[in-house]
């Protein structure tokens, strides 16, 4: 069974971390990640940019609505995610719309990825 571990924290706090503190946290996480890599258990890992860089596509209406900011409703739940490689926001929104046509309802939150490690797990 594969599991996704979703990371939550108050970004006002994490963005108040000093560079040294941030580096130290990443280094400590690196130790854990290395162990998981050796065990062949670690898949893709991504750190996202702050929610101020987020855009949301509401696909519960036609045409879908593009809004600035993160997805904030609580009646929907996080059910999955895609990682796509695009030239810019316009292209991602295009892809999200296409996915939304295939699966209307709900919303996609589009968040730029800060760091990405593809990892390796048996599929």
């Amino acid at each position: 069974m594969q599991y996704a571990i979703l990371c939550y924290h108050d970004e006002k706090v994490t963005s108040a971390w000093s560079k040294e503190h941030d580096d130290a946290v990443i280094a400590k996480l690196g130790v854990v990640r290395e162990k998981l890599v050796r065990q062949g258990k670690l898949g893709p890992v991504a750190r996202l940019l702050p929610t101020t860089a987020a855009t949301t596509l509401r696909k519960d209406r036609e045409p879908p609505l593009v809004i600035d900011g993160p997805f904030a409703e609580t009646k929907e739940q996080l059910l999955g995610f895609y990682i796509v490689d695009c030239a810019g926001l316009d292209e991602v929104i295009g892809i999200a719309k296409e996915l939304g046509e295939a699966n209307p309802g709900g919303a996609y939150e589009i968040r730029p990825v800060a760091t990405f490690d593809p990892g390796k797990v048996a599929s």
């Binding site: 706090v13 994490t14 108040a16 000093s18 503190h21 940019l49 702050p50 101020t52 926001l89 800060a114």
Partner: protein, 416 residues
């Protein structure tokens, strides 16, 4: 848990919310600040034992209010002090408080606080000092180091700003729509000034002043959370991030200025660049360009070029043309001329800046750029004179050293 290092970022993050709410309650900047400090001290005492509260800002506001009531009582000597446990033991009441203080209240509180710091009656230097003290929570010595003035002078500047606020009859009500828009522009300008204060620096001062750039980035993120759909605020945040991303490459080990085209681009902060690019990308979609967005778009073109020779100077030339129409200023024209020199040659660039001599005659960069254009045109004698003017006007040792390097090259060239 003896190490309380984890608490400090939580207090920093909660500060604007908490101070702003306390200010709404007491309408007194000094009192709000004082009781917030006291609440932080209690947090340092109780959080290591009990763990952090679910909503740190709500906890600090609650404790701060109790401290203030206590202070007022003590001043009036009417009541005995309540035992400290009654004030700081909030395990039961915290949840209820957190429910009552929702994001909408916070938003109005922080806006009010920012608007007060940017009150039109305060000169810009006082606005930024006050915002760094009250909103960011930097200490007076930290701010004094950032501005390269004595602590006593900075203390006085902040005290003056506070007393002006106290006598200016600052309205504590939220302003109307039109006024609100003007005030947001004032807050954005204040944040950009904080940034520039830190950006205009030489390497010897770099550590102390870089803190101002980081604070400007934090303030721009704060403003962006308040106005998440305002493209100019996205532009401002992108601009300060993209410029600060180059901080690690702007000076060499001897403290000399490294020009943009000579910088080691592997030293640029990739994560800040990614965030800045994402924000300008979002802003552009609104189709409502403004000066911050255009400047950020220029910075983005530099950030996107992995080598200096890959820079899209014709696009930068166009963007500076747009910026000149939006916000005409001799400094913008001077920067435009540098792009023009790349695209159309030093002759056109020189013709562009000659009429600026009246306004920019006392400006280091004007003579530096003019010298460089003249040098490219082979007019070495005039170039030497222009560089001489530039050295005399240099603000920092690093600026002067850079021009001296140009002069040395000129001298070597003449000797050959």
């Amino acid at each position: 848990m003896s190490d309380v290092g984890w608490i400090s970022p939580i207090l920093t993050a909660a500060r604007p919310h908490a101070v702003a709410a306390l200010l709404r309650n007491f309408r007194d900047l000094d009192l709000a600040e004082e009781v917030f400090q006291e609440a932080c001290l209690r947090a340092l005492k109780t959080w290591p034992r009990n763990g952090p509260p679910r909503d740190a800002a709500a906890w600090l506001i609650m404790v701060g209010r109790n401290v203030a009531i206590d202070t007022v009582r003590r001043r009036s000597r009417l009541h005995l002090l309540p035992p400290e446990e009654l004030i700081s033991d909030l395990t039961d009441t915290e949840a209820a408080v957190a429910d009552r203080i929702d994001e909408a209240d916070y938003r109005d509180d922080i806006l009010r606080l920012l608007f007060i710091c940017c009150h039109p009656e305060l000169p810009a230097t006082q606005q930024i000092a006050l915002a760094l003290r009250i909103v960011s929570g930097l200490s007076v010595p930290q701010i004094a180091r950032g501005f390269l003035v004595s602590e006593a002078a900075m203390e006085q500047r902040i005290t003056r700003a506070k007393s002006r606020i106290a006598t200016a009859n600052v309205p504590f009500e939220a302003p109307g729509a039109a006024e609100r828009f003007e005030r947001i522009a004032a807050v954005a300008a204040m944040i950009y000034l904080v940034f520039n204060e830190g950006y205009t620096t030489s390497v010897a001062e770099h550590g102390a002043r870089a803190a101002l750039c980081e604070e400007a980035i934090r303030l721009s993120r704060l403003l962006l959370r308040l106005f998440p759909t305002e493209p100019e605020i996205m532009g401002l945040a992108a601009l300060v991030m993209l410029q600060h991303a180059r901080a690690g490459a702007r000076f060499d080990s001897q403290g000399g200025v490294v020009l943009l085209e000579d910088q080691d681009r592997t030293l640029w902060d990739r994560r800040l660049i990614a965030e800045g690019l994402a924000l300008i990308d979002k802003a552009v979609r609104h189709g409502r360009p403004g000066p911050y967005q255009v400047q950020a778009a220029i910075a983005a073109l530099h950030a996107r070029a992995s080598r200096a020779e890959d820079t899209d100077w014709s696009e930068i030339d166009l963007l500076y043309g747009t910026l000149e129409r939006m916000q005409p200023s001799p400094i913008v024209s001077l920067n435009h001329a540098i792009a023009v020199a790349k695209v159309r040659g030093a002759g056109d660039a020189l013709a562009m800046i000659e009429p600026l001599a009246d306004k920019l005659g006392g400006y280091f960069y004007f003579h530096g750029a003019r010298g460089a254009f003249l040098l490219q045109l082979g007019r070495t004698e005039e170039a030497r004179a222009a560089f001489g003017h530039a050295i005399a006007l240099a603000n920092t040792a690093a600026e002067a050293a850079h021009i001296r390097g140009q002069l040395d090259r000129l001298a070597r060239g003449a000797a050959l």
